[in-house]
């Protein structure tokens, strides 16, 4: 355990140092990421105004709060994608990772966690600028803040697990991009990324409970912007933990079969 803690601390430090080498590139990347929620925010605010100032309980200021928090959750959602799995197998990078006495997934989790630290720091001025222009209605309690802190890191782990499972399909097919596009479409509808889930039809909201997407995206935003009861906040965290455990279990099972398929094509 001590070795793993040391590994995580060292890897995270390394990732932070690495990412600070390119602050401008990281900033442009984040600015690009902000374009999507700004469009959603403007469109939904216009719709709400036309509907008499509110739609499904969301005012333009509530939409602003939702989508500004969205930008941070989206940054936390960036993990090693199936495209990355394709790349590392083709380039032979996975072979080098496999030679280490530590599962490659630890490497991914630690590296991206380090990157998050940089993106969170870079996000703060962006969030302030967005708040200045869009005037969000955001008044979280201390408990909401604490739950949000854990929820965004749990969201990161859920997405890491789900996309790792998807990425491991690469061991059988080499090209997994099409499957990723399908996953992305489902995520867009069932996560709360496109629109707050409470504005979706009932059946979509019910279905979202049974998929990981909501717990990796919509739930963390709602912890800060919604009016969730204490029970719902902890139930949500419980669901996130359940998805992380379930994801880790599936990852370890799939990995056992996947690694037998590994042909080290790229070296």
């Amino acid at each position: 355990m001590k070795r793993y803690i040391d590994f995580y601390i060292t890897s995270i430090k390394l990732a932070i140092m690495e990412q600070w080498q390119y602050p401008i590139a990281n900033y442009f990347y984040m600015i690009g990421m902000v374009a999507e929620p700004v469009i959603y925010m403007v469109v939904w605010s216009a719709v709400a105004t036309q509907q008499g100032g509110t739609i499904g309980g969301y005012t333009p200021a509530a939409f602003a709060a939702y989508y500004i928090v969205w930008t941070l959750v989206r940054s936390m959602n960036v993990v090693f994608t199936p495209y990355g799995w394709e790349w590392r197998i083709r380039q032979g990078q996975l072979s080098m990772s496999l030679m280490r006495p530590i599962h490659p997934l630890h490497n991914d989790v630690a590296f991206f966690a380090g990157w998050k630290v940089v993106t969170i720091i870079l996000w703060i001025p962006l969030a302030l600028a967005l708040s200045f222009f869009f005037k969000p209605d955001l008044h979280p309690t201390f408990l909401q803040g604490v739950v949000f802190f854990f929820a965004i890191w749990f969201a990161y782990l859920i997405r890491t697990m789900t996309l790792s499972i998807l990425g491991m399909v690469t061991f059988w097919t080499t090209r997994v991009s099409a499957l990723f596009e399908l996953y992305f479409a489902a995520e867009l509808i069932l996560s709360g990324r496109l629109v707050p889930l409470s504005l979706m039809p009932d059946w979509v909201q019910r279905a979202a409970w049974f998929f990981p997407f909501r717990w990796a995206f919509g739930f963390p935003i709602e912890t800060l912007t919604g009016n969730m009861s204490v029970n719902d906040l902890f139930l949500g965290l419980g669901m996130q933990i359940a998805w992380i455990v379930f994801g880790a279990l599936v990852v370890s099972i799939v990995w056992k079969f996947a690694i037998r398929q590994f042909s080290a094509v790229g070296g």
Partner: protein
Amino acid sequence: MPSVISISKLAKHYQVPEREAGLKAAAKGLFKRTYRNVKAVDGISFDIQPGEVVGFLGPNGAGKTTTLKMLSGLLHPTAGSVSVLGYEPAKRAHDYLRQITLVMGNRNQLSWDLPALDSFDLQRAVYGIPTDEFKRTRDEFIEILDVKDLVKKPVRNLSLGERMKMEIIGALLHKPKILFLDEPTLGLDVTMQKRIRTFIAEYNKRYGATVLLTSHYMADVEALCKRVIVIHHGQLLFDGDLAALVEKFSAFKTVGFNIDDPTQDFSSYGDVVSVDGSRVVMRVPKAKTSAVTSSLLNDLAVDDLTVEATPIEDVIESVFSVKKEAME
């Protein structure tokens, strides 16, 4: 002494999809795929003793890298058995991975944007090396390879050879007992190749490590390996002393001399390989070398007569060609 590496009838076969060129064949392939069974490694056996440095030779596609990948646990064998340090590599036990290393000349594991020192620290954490021991080993390797000024530069600013030195330091910080080196001097200039060879030899001497090395540079093999294993088309062609290989497969010697008239007919002495100014170089059957040199000295006015063994590259080439014919 028990072997540290022992493989028996080891095989790795791949099912490779194949089709004819063209749209029609591509469309047909959507419904019915045809596969070819490729025997990358086809039933090879050998043992390696602790502390040995063995050259693993073969032309491109012979199965060298595939074998190294099976030995290091990256690939599961199709058949046969592998034992390294008493472990089955394919299980990739962490205790096993802590005792080996695989260096591939065209792969890197250092962070591109950071000084190598930072990546070395990650290696410390990965392998759980105690800090004092890590610093001692790191500084020792830095000194042997004379890279004190380079370890603080971002890796992206280093030359290929400098990067390779860093890769090797990073790969050996945990002081592995077994080194699998796949073309470690690939693309490096002669000076850099020599530096890396010296380092590998020094590491072997200091720590008694076992080394299995593939290289297309015969200078690496000559400098480091007493024993060579030659494979071709996945099959073992030769396993023994490098000197015995040269003796067995080197049928010719190279005889060179200076002469005033290099245009005359030398066919009765041997095959002329080249004529450069007054210098003539000939290939002579090994058994006739003494007789030919005597005749040259007696019959002609030759100067600076030299007799050289066939370059090791040519010997290896003749091993491949002789055995290939025997296998076809």
